[in-house]
Amino acid sequence: MTFIERLRPAQRGQLLLAHLALLAYTALALFPVFLVVINSVKGRRAIFQSPYALPNRDTWDLVGYEKVLDNSNFPDYFLNSITVTVGALFFILLAGSMAAWALAEYRFPGNAIMGLYLALGIMIPIRLGTISILRLVVRLGLADTLAALILIYTAAGLPLAIFILTQFMRQVPRDLKDAARVDGASEYRIYLMTLPLIRPALGTVAVFNMIPVWNDLWFPLIIAPSEANKTVTLGAQVFLGQFVNDWNAVLASLTLAMIPVIILYIIFSRQLIRGLTSGAVK
């Protein structure tokens, strides 16, 4: 690449400006996170007297972390969040791909209406039905269970999942399926066979649902608030509320809740961004 050399001086100036703008915005995006992390390992007075200083031998203090680990069940919260997120993703992908397969593959009376019906939920937030969801969950004996959360997130994620997956299912070549049918494969078998072919689409749907489910506060707060079923997001919210006057503990718990998400994000950022930019929303 010899772009730079080919550019006129005016264009080089523009390039510099562009980098400055991007750098400035990146700093704005990361500075608050940075501030929380460095102060989480400092003593109480150092937090207030020199917030921007990196921790040194005098100010180093892990009292916040000790308090968090003594007074909360963060490992359990993580397990709950993983259960709910993985469970919801699993059912969204399974039920969503099955329905998408039916809509894309078969001509049957009511196909279009069914497609429209299942797409209704794309734009209407499920939160508006909260009062009835709470009552329903109580009646089904699922109050304060992770299963209730999984079902709710599955219902909320299905419309977009079916919409996206149907588009991709339609693109699977006919010959392949017909060949399998000639070989006497059942419809279920052929469905299973096509799944690997739409892997990128399944990945897109998964990352699309992962972040909102992991980060949701509303339904854990209302449907499953007990200590045994708290998700990380609710656990952090409650813990932060409990220790709100103890800045050491607050900064430490913010860091603990943030770091795993950021690490996961960095690992999966390629898939996430590919999902977002693959024209999934069309």
């Binding site: 259960t83 709470l134 299963a147 707060l221 608030p225």
Partner: protein, 422 residues
Amino acid sequence: MKKLLALAVILTLVVALVPATTQAQDKVTLTIESWRNDDIAFWNDVLIPAFNAHYPDIEVIFAPAAPTEYNAALNAKLEGGTAGDLITCRPFDLSLEHFNNGYLVSLNDLPGMEHFGPVARSAWITDDGSDVFCVPMASVIHGFIYNQSIFEELGLEEPATEPEFLELLDAIKADGTYAPLSMGTVDLWEAATMGYQNIGPNYWKGEEGRLGLIDGTIGYDENGFVEAFEALARWTPYLPDGYQAISYPDSQNLFTLGMAAIFPAGSWEIGVFRGQDPDFEMGAFKPPVPEGADTCYISDHVDIAMGVNAASQHQEEAMLFMEWMTTQEFAELYSNALPGFFTLSDHAITLEDPLAQEFLSWRDECESTIRSSYQILSRGEPNNETQLWEVSAQVLNGELTPQEAADIVQSGLEAWYEPQQQ
């Protein structure tokens, strides 16, 4: 993708089995719902181990929410059937509503209930007096806590009257090093609870004014109740910079970091401040009386009690815990572990904390009353207590004059409360 799916299935199954195995334990677990998140360490380190010394097979979990979120969260949990076994009771109507809705069980037959007199029971009893549904735990007394080293440095003395109080605040402000009063308005409730209800009884003459509101002979827009708003409005110049965005926890930090001199307080702060900084030297003075007044009044508010969730699976164990809460041992531990919470039982106990002792001594010097909005007056819409929060914060923010604030609260009360409509 197949591998990933298989993994997902296995994970889901594995994790789904975990709760089943934990339930198989023999120990019964009681969960306590509370808004006292400041007390989590006291419960875990002192009270629960003391209870377990008698009942080792009952595990107790203290699971508090933030005070501002407690009521909403508890209502949701009760409605959803997901609330804990033991419910910390707010005084008067909120708990009464829970009892009437069948969420709390009657404690008439609880052994040990005889240690609580009619005053102690009054906040957790049905209107006809037939059922008591929470074991009274403690009352809290309002007043002011100050930083002793700042007072010594500036050569200040505890004020007895309002003019002395304002003079004192002027002196701290003139020095310029410290914020005179440590209070913010963003959380609303402090302005009403630690401001209006703290100094108010001196102006509306305690029970005389409060009962007058209930039988309709006096209004919020008259005499003492307006004067209390006026006294509150005089605090504004002495609040810390940016007080409109300072939350309750911020103001606690401001005080214990030594950046503010006086904390308008409830006695429960004693324990919080000792926990934040055990070496912090504090003194306390009672709400200053208006010039020329010869009687002082304090808010000695029946604040906290505990009841049993009717939907609890462990009624028997919950009752054992309730019974333990009526004992001398509990009263002693609670009042000393949480200095500033004063037992409502008739057990004779000694307080180890001198500051708590100071607050308690005011009971002998002054007339006691409770917060004006709690009994009966917060049953309708608009809610009297909520309105007091809103207008008190706005008076301190300079958005409302004292008279405007008083008029809003009065018309809110008149909108639904018959004795006030005549």
